[in-house]
């Protein structure tokens, strides 16, 4: 399986995604510099976390104008897989590949910790090997992960089965105290209508090795590899 990790100025989870994909999951991976207009033919594009363009203006707002994004949009349009993690999710929202927007965390502080997310859909490339209702322990690390959308969009997201992950307790209970950032309807990750583009705030690449405290993120990588190989 061929994977590309996009590198923007200020990306800082690019090497982590590269490591998880190549060294842990044994995918074939290459970095793509944001100024490269041409994206090689790959099965999966990873838009990693970080502070692209230093979060100037708004998270992800400038990165979406990078030359490579045209190719990413084309790649997604052809039905091929894209996963945006954290700042990658924010970029996908700004690029219009996913609906909604990000607000500051409700605490107004950056939050880095392990959280539990519940799998809401498994008819996607990204969750095919995970049971519906299964909870995963995956870290978050963001200042703006408070997902927001209007009522209509939320209804559509649910109607089309686009809400993939929600923040819950370890045993899958929904509640404000399990939602770290105040996101609408406890949303942690969504897909587009065609279900080939996933945006999620938690970092599966940080939960891919037991040594680091959790390997639940591998369930997502395994699902992707199972679907695309």
């Amino acid at each position: 399986m061929k994977t590309a990790v996009i590198v923007f100025p200020g990306s800082n989870c690019d090497t982590d995604c590269f490591h998880a994909a190549r060294d842990v999951m044994k995918m074939s991976v290459e970095y793509i510099w944001h100024k490269d207009r041409d994206l090689p033919k790959v099965d999966l594009v990873i838009i990693p976390g970080g502070f692209s363009y230093g979060d100037y203006l708004r998270t992800g707002a400038i990165a979406r104008f990078s030359p490579v994004m045209e190719s990413v949009i084309k790649h997604a349009g052809e039905g091929r897989a894209v996963i945006g993690i954290c700042n990658g999710f924010q970029i996908l929202l700004e690029a219009g590949l996913l609906p909604g927007a990000m607000l500051r965390n409700k605490t107004l502080e950056f939050i880095c910790k392990h959280v539990w997310i519940r799998t809401e859909e498994n008819l996607t490339i990204f969750t095919g090997k995970i049971d519906i209702g299964e909870t995963l322990c995956i870290p978050i690390a963001h200042g703006e992960g408070n997902y927001y959308c209007d009522d209509e969009t939320l209804k559509a997201l649910h109607g089309n089965s686009q809400v993939v992950f929600r923040y819950t307790s370890r045993d899958g209970k929904v509640g404000d105290k399990f939602n770290p950032n105040g996101s609408r309807d406890h949303i942690a990750g969504i897909v587009n209508k065609k279900k080939n583009v996933l945006g999620m705030m938690p970092h599966p690449e940080r939960a891919s090795e037991e040594l680091l405290g959790s390997s639940d993120g591998r369930k997502i990588w395994n699902s992707i590899m199972n679907a695309l190989e």
Binding site: P9, T15, G54, E109, C112, A141, H203, R206
Partner: protein, 755 residues
Amino acid sequence: MPSLDSTTPITSELIAAHGITPEEYARIQGILGRDPNITELGMFSVMWSEHCSYKNSKPILKLFSKMNAALPHQENLLVKPGQENAGIVDIGDGLAVCFKIESHNHPSAIEPFQGAATGVGGILRDIFTMGARPVLLMNSLRFGDLAQPVSQRLFRGVVAGIAHYGNCMGIPTVGGDVYFDASYEGNPLVNAMALGIIKKNEIVRGAATGVGNPVYYVGATTGRDGLGGAAFASKELSEQSHEDRPAVQVGDPFMEKLLMEACLELLKTNALVGMQDMGAAGLTCAGCETASRASTGVEIDLMHVPRRESGMIPYEILLSESQERMLVIVKKGKEKEVERIFEKWDLHAVKIGEVTKGDKYRVLHEGRVAAEIPAKALADEGPIYIREEERPAYLEEAQKLDLTAVKEAGDLSGVLKRLLSYPSIACKAWVWEQYDHMVRTDTVFYPGHDAALIRVKGTQKGIAVSTDCNSLYVYLDPLEGGKIAVAEAARNVVCSGAKPIGVTNCLNFGNPMKPEIFWQFHQAVSGMIESCTALEVPVTGGNVSFYNESPQGAIYPTPTIGMVGLLDNIDKRVPSAFRNEGDIVFLAGETFNELGGSHYLMIEHGLKKGLPPRLDLKRERALQQFILAAADGRKLVSCHDLSEGGLALALAECCLKSQQGLGASVTDLGEIRKGRAGLRTDALYFGESQSRAVISVKPEHRDEVKRLAQKRGVALFEIGKVGGDTLVIEDKVRLPVSEMKGLFNSTIPDIMEVP
């Protein structure tokens, strides 16, 4: 300050305003063979400030180098203290670690967010300047009483500033320490440490070698911010310090991230000759230090320096401390290659001069010579003072402690609860959850462990790091306190299974002109040296921060230690907390009737008095060797060092930090009591005797662990068992782990979170 240009006459008022004494001025005249102009006066003033020249501390700091020279395995110390921007220690397999700790106290007192943020930026530049890829950050923080709104404001601002910079850079902040004490009111301490990994054959020197090689200015533009920050850092804080706000720099971590990537990419080419960051004293320091190290000259033309403000005069350009700038010396003929890399990262890279024959740092401006000074004189030949020392009068009274007048606490569960809720001891998750402590996917022990631990990808190795300093001990007995600071930081690292390999230190003291302060300084350094010698750990460098005084007086003397340890096989790491029901709990080390300087005495009896516990370095060394041997044999399930709050608090932490919330039943303290006639119960529970650790061991390893301890003469007491959901100590303490967790975890959020 009045406007300064080349015609400004040099008056004695102007000289004094630059912090230069008449004797120092005469020395400058001698060096130049003439009067300096205003630009040169400014350059001398920043380079000869305490912050850059260490003029008051050098004779004492030399003791570290002398000590290093007598240690075994010196070949592992690849870059010695003071030689370069950071020290480097070999970790085998062609790799080395590059690390340093540095203070940003004064800027943080005035503007906590930017002060702390730029402290992180500065220490990171010191690391990647050497060619190392920074892989972790730590920080050691001190604030006044957290009940005070001003302390809360500083605490909140400093933490947010560190988070802002480190998170954006993508370098995990993996640990540190935070204490609150009234002595830091108005003068908080912000000591930031960074560690990088480097291939031994890729170390970059900050030297301008090769006459004719071009000198490049790269990174952010130069503005008037941070003008004379080094000189500002060398003054006591006063009511007027807020007027110095323009001396605090503003950081841009995004710019620094680009700068770091570009510099590390440049390293992979063979175009690079030398590199030096522009931190304190900016372009003045970078120019003269690179020339001085290479024994060459450097000539630059200020016309080419990218600026963010118009009308800047040479004085301002040379003294600016604008952040995220580097001076890079490259091979002649490789200019295009270098420029291409910086262009890729959208950064300025401008040739501003070249390496010259001779020994002068020559600065041109608008076709004229704006300054011309022998580089070595400016960089390395500043004045050195042997300051007067005098044992402070306060010690007499402070060290007095009549234990017979100290009533033993009755309700020991209550004492333990109050300790757990004391801000200096309580859980600091409110701090570290604001720091990205996982980015780079190397963090194995998260903050809250005795030491932070990261893996080194591509190897089996782990790097453990701890920062520490119990400054109350140092206040009460600077020599013993200095010894303990090193020993305890080493013990933290050892408890994780790693062998200490190097120390960096940040020596935070008051005004060195006061003989009492200088005595504290000298004593503390002597104590540190005793411990480093006994534990065979070299000092790789660090930083001195004097003048930490506010109108209320000097801070407690705080020689912060940054200890780095190496774990050859990360699979042999040892966590701090209990893990399995049924494991045996041992106390390693001996307990004495020592309550002086303890948190128990401070919290329960309102006393900050007495002699701190005595450190016997033979016993300390034996304990550390025992723990390392047991860890290496995979015989330890957990290991936690005893410090503030003593045995009872250590046991509580082993329970409440365990993932399952395991309790323990500790009923066998009779053996300890029997061996020490007259041992008070409060000293046994809460005393802070040194060289001790709580370990948990699987029952089948009991005998082997006892044998390992006996072999090294370490007293080992089997005191109980892990299990249940309550911590029980004899018939005196009985506390559910969930209740302890509640107290421990909620203390700081309850104070800091706005409802």
